[in-house]
Symmetry: C2
């Protein structure tokens, strides 16, 4: 079975297992409170209904009315400021649902708007995230130089460490500010920041939804928190997740290359036996593709590695000179093996440096 | 200014402009209805309160009670089935918010669960999506063969076309089924499917939330709709968005390569003037890095292209033999230029075939 199919299958199994475990834990954590809470709420409802002797039909009317009026508790939602907040919540796929389009035209526009806005937003966040990584690696290098450290190179682990810390700081500090302005418990505020920046956006806690007028600087902060927060998360994702996303296509390329190498070995043997060295040269000149593929694999190992060396300062590999030497036309079987080795090394180094 | 900075800056400007336009349109579409709707709701509230003469304090109690009880209208939320639905909604970052953890331990677990679950889910969807693309390109090739078409190769445009259509079919058919089971208008059901599969998940429409017991096959369908739907969307994203995500890092590599080529040209000149050809050979042997980088660029152009040719059947490039010839040690300036050309060609072809 192809390794990319095995990988995909194991990922599916992992996800399903993870979902089942999650369901079991949430069930055990929330069920008791839910039953208790539900009983209390019913009890309170019963008391008030008895007090005013409200009929079922009328209480249902009140219920529907209250739920429909909920978005308007925080004042008009669709003024420009509210609409801007909503637009951001849509394109960043947070989707609190604190206010949603009610008209058919609004719903249709919302779909069209998301269709173009979401890819734009993903690309923007990833692009800024990648710039942020480059900037941070430069900054780190300078700091290391300032402290006169021997190893001034910035490894990917350094970057991941910094991004992770930056994300934690953003969530922690953000939570502090939101809890101050919204009057939430710190843990709830932390939960709000996390649920927002992961773009889950339940909407059980939503900023800027208090009855009293929102201050402009707090409004600006709330929007910038989402934008900057998601950028840093994207920077982390860019380092952590993105390289996994291309594993399968890399394997496809590797399989093709290995097939090409195998094919060349076969042809080589024939060349050696029948026509000797001159024949091999002739052969090689007739089939540039293989030679190219070989020089790709051998050279790109070193190219990718040297590219990474410049950025992350990984140590040079002994196969370098060997694979460089194999760039001449008369390639021997040993060279091919060394090239396969160095290609696999390149695969690893590329994944590590993505 | 570096091209990757220009790209990032223009992306930021685009996104902000897009947000402002969105805000203006949503404002104009929703504001009038909101004002009207709000007045009607207030009027109904006033009538009922007058009828039963409910005090402000008590009506506020009713309001809070009704909003808190809302999740329980659909029966117990945190039984295993509900918790499983919730877990999926979390890891797929849909976050309807139809039911959310209320206990501190529940909130803490939810954060930890999302932290590991979301990357797992992204990687799984992308991996399955990529497999789906490979499978579809194979299927398309077979179909083209069946119809005895001259050009049996599957272009990326073909794939995007098929994935887009598949996504549309899933949303359209899904909407039909949901509108049947949930008793929604078709447009609302369509809106629900779209908002779910884009992972916005407002939660204004949520499946499986009716009072009467949910049939098992409909429950299974709702979960599979999300899983399969998101896989197909990922397949589309894999083709459309993913290649943009690596543009900046590709440019970084390109800049390094161009610098290397420039450096080598300089060294060459010195070699030519002072030591002549032998000197150049000597030079070259002393600095394999440049040679490697050069052979990477020239060869990988063809390697990447030939890799893509196998998959998408792009036409071969005339620079191939030229750049292949330049694999010997004594490289001339012309070769370097041809290599730069073919490297840029490779950049384009790589982006196209990502």
């Amino acid at each position: 079975m192809k390794r990319q199919n095995v990988r995909t299958l194991s990922l599916i199994i992992c996800t399903f297992t993870y979902l089942l475990i999650g369901a079991a834990v949430f069930d055990s954590l929330e069920s008791d409170f839910e039953i208790e809470n539900r009983r209390n709420l019913r009890e309170r409802e019963r008391k008030i209904r008895e007090k005013y002797n409200i009929t079922d039909e009328h209480f249902e009317k009140i219920r529907i009315n209250v739920i429909k009026s909920k978005p308007y508790q925080a004042g008009t939602q669709w003024k420009f400021s509210g609409a801007l907040y909503f637009s951001l919540v849509v394109v960043a796929v947070i989707g609190y649902g604190h206010s949603t389009p009610k008209t058919v035209s609004g719903k249709l526009f919302c779909m069209g708007y998301a269709l173009a806005g979401i890819p734009l937003c993903i690309i923007m966040f990833q692009s800024v995230g990648e710039r942020l990584n480059t900037f941070m690696s430069y900054g780190l290098k300078q700091i290391k130089k300032c402290f006169r450290l021997k190893k001034t190179e910035v490894s990917q682990t350094d970057l991941i460490f910094v991004t992770m810390n930056l994300s934690t700081i953003i969530v922690a500090v953000g939570a502090l500010i939101f809890s101050h302005y919204e009057g939430w418990e710190y843990i709830d505020s932390l939960y709000y920041c996390f649920i927002t920046l992961t773009t889950i956006g339940f909407g059980d806690y939503v900023a800027l939804q208090k009855k009293d007028k929102v201050q402009t600087h707090y409004y600006a902060f709330s929007l910038l928190f989402i934008l900057f927060g998601l950028t840093v998360i994207s920077a982390a994702m860019n380092l952590l997740v993105l390289r996994f996303l291309t594993l399968n296509s890399e394997d496809e390329r590797r399989d093709e290359l290995e097939a090409a190498i195998a094919a060349q070995n076969a042809v080589h043997l024939e060349g050696d036996v029948i026509t000797g060295n001159a024949g091999v040269v002739g052969n090689a000149q007739e089939r540039p593709d293989f030679q190219e593929t070989l020089s790709v694999c051998s050279c790109s190992c070193n190219k990718w590695r040297s590219a990474r060396d410049k950025i992350y300062g990984a140590t040079n590999n002994p196969t370098r000179t060997k694979s460089f030497m194999s760039n001449n036309v008369t390639t021997t079987k040993e060279d091919n093996n060394s090239e396969t080795d160095s290609f696999l090394l390149w695969q690893r180094s590329k994944r590590a440096s993505f």
